[in-house]
Symmetry: C2
Subunit: 390 residues, 2 copies
């Protein structure tokens, strides 16, 4: 297996981006990524384009080839990858394997989603289908927040966490979002505001949920051999990748306290990277709802089962704590353009590992130069974990 490095990253501003069309939004991320890598678009042999909602919440049914043309990538091999909210990570894995196989020297993974062109009710309907459509959504009317509400209720009942604990995730992530100029929601909030926000699916309230966002992120990777030709100051290496799936039917799962797919994907990635979670300097985890972040701490092995919310109470997930999580604002405040999210995590970790976040006051101190991204699709239907090492 060839060693693979991240050599360039770029991100658009996240938010409601009716000021740009699909290709323009992608270009906003792509241009800085090739500049960062010091290459030309023509050097890119393969593009894996992560997007879930083509033709559904964006009018382009074939977004990959249109965006590729706008970026000067015409001629390259192209595929669109979809794994629901993990589409960005799926595209990163596809690009990674293209290079790791030895066939491709330079590849791009671009994550993209434009979700704000259609009505909120239409967007909600589509997100509601991110479970087992025919059975749970269509027959029982379960919306996407409802799935996570089941987990939140079960977790609170089992381990004694409270609605205030869930709110602490939102407060932390909004704090970092307020320090991130690319974030969709750049304002701090308080526990009281979260508790007083409208109930979406009890016990989850509006401020327990991530926003519906537009955004794009571009990651350029290259083989170790190619790196010798290029002038890359600080390559960030892909140390481990893990991937797993779970039953599509929530009703078939034995318990609602965590995601088996997260556990499996993380174990694979740790094994490949030959590390333990204690060695990580920071992590980006999939906080589409506040409860999801707490369960991720546990599924990823940052603490024992049922103890995630206690670490959070102690401030251990902030910069200076045991393991800072989502210091870019996470899905919760940076935003969640679903096809872009996985690449956005890798963008943030690359910047952090290169120690380039200090001008925003968000630089995590490095001990081992190791970081982890955890990206889920659906309600744990898909999970991708990536470990990076500088």
């Amino acid at each position: 297996m060839k060693k693979v490095a991240i050599i360039g990253v770029g991100s658009s501003r996240f938010g409601v981006r009716n000021d740009v069309n699909m290709a323009e939004l992608v270009f906003e991320a792509f241009k800085p990524s090739v500049e960062d890598a010091g290459i030309s678009p023509k050097d890119i042999e393969f593009l894996a384009f992560g997007s879930a909602g083509a033709g559904v919440w964006c009018e382009e049914f074939l977004p990959a080839v249109v965006a590729a043309e706008y970026c000067g990538l015409t001629g390259a091999g192209i595929v669109r990858c979809e794994a629901a909210c993990a589409s960005g990570s799926a595209s990163f894995l596809a690009a990674y394997w293209a290079v790791a196989s030895g066939q491709v020297d330079v590849a791009a993974a671009i994550g993209f989603e434009k979700m704000r062109q259609i009505s909120t009710s239409a967007a909600m309907e589509w997100i509601g289908r991110a479970g087992y459509y025919l059975w749970e959504f269509h027959n029982f009317g379960a919306t996407f927040p409802a799935y996570y509400a089941l987990y939140a209720r079960a977790y609170m009942d089992m381990y004694g966490a409270t609605e205030e604990d869930l709110a602490l995730v939102a407060v932390k992530n909004h704090k970092y979002g307020s320090m991130n100029p690319l974030a969709h929601l750049q304002r701090r909030i308080t526990v009281e505001e979260v508790l007083a926000s409208p109930v979406v699916a009890a016990p989850l309230k509006l401020l327990d949920c991530c926003p519906i966002s537009d955004g794009a992120v571009s990651i350029i990777i290259a083989s170790e051999d190619k790196l010798k030709e290029l002038k890359v100051d600080t390559p960030v290496w892909v140390a481990g990748v893990g991937y797993a799936s779970e039953t599509a039917s929530i009703g078939k799962r034995p318990e609602y306290l965590g995601f088996k797919s997260s556990v499996t994907a993380a174990q694979k990635a740790y094994k490949m990277a030959k590390i333990t979670p204690e060695q990580l300097d920071l992590a980006e985890v999939h906080d589409c709802f506040t409860i999801a972040e707490i369960m991720a701490y546990e599924d990823l092995g940052f603490c024992k089962k049922g103890e995630g919310y206690k670490l959070l109470r102690d401030g251990q997930m902030e910069i200076g704590g045991k393991i800072p999580v989502n210091v870019d604002g996470g899905l919760k405040a940076k935003g969640h353009p679903i096809g872009a999210t996985g690449c956005s995590m890798i963008y943030e970790l690359t910047k952090q590992l290169r120690e380039e976040a200090s001008n925003e006051g968000r630089q995590v101190p490095m001990r081992n130069y190791l970081a982890l991204a955890h990206n889920m699709g659906g309600t744990g239907h898909y999970c991708y974990v990536t470990v990076l090492r500088r």
Copy 2:
């Protein structure tokens, strides 16, 4: 790069399949493929699922995870791949690279599409978007047959081919479709019938166009190391893969006589396989419209530019001729469930290379045991070429 072999294949019957739901249709292809490979679904570590129209012409927005669960693949890594009508080949390439990288030992590529649940007019609208939506479809109303009609007219004007020549493609492919129990259209047709069929986009008539079909195909691949553990009688090796893209905007192309993406993808695949087109025993090419098959002969190097239709007149593309093409009926008669087509080509070539098509009277005699699949997305927007060797 690890050597990769096809160890099992399975295909559903193609056609209007309102008798089964999405997961059942996939299972119809998957079950024989694992039996053919002599493995259990649990042996499959990664699934690349090719499908273009999730949520558009099939109600499941996340078809991959639902189909995977029905097939007993829950737990495996899963991604859905989309490259328009080349989605099946895109999934095969993703699965190939997973194994070629050395990370995965056994992977599946499943191609699927269920296009006949929605109205024909809705299906037509979606297929019309398989160009550059905002410009050519939305502003000029160009439908998908209209794009190919431009190519047909230009080709006929330049090289002297006639409408009868186009019809010969349909006649040949329907002949082989009539011999293939899995084909959507299992009846022979005559040149006169093609010429008398209703005009869709002049000079293309109804019988110049492939049907809109439902279908699924499953391909199981394994690494050379894994093959030693398994009892595989006749592995079929992936000798070469090629991939390329073209401008999304038809209006920007310099001429309408062939597809640059086909030429580039084929050259890459030949180079990797270290062969010339003369060595091929047979090919499956992307005949969504009759003109597309003739241009493919030339783009793939089976003959010089402008001579494809002459070979066809001579009967050289039939069994016993210079290079038999689409002896399963092709997209034209076997049908074109767009996410399934690329995998369907690989299914047919595997059966042919294993010399298992004689009971249907369609076995191609083998000289070099080399075969090629050519799968396009859009109007040459994407192209994937795969060379297989027994």
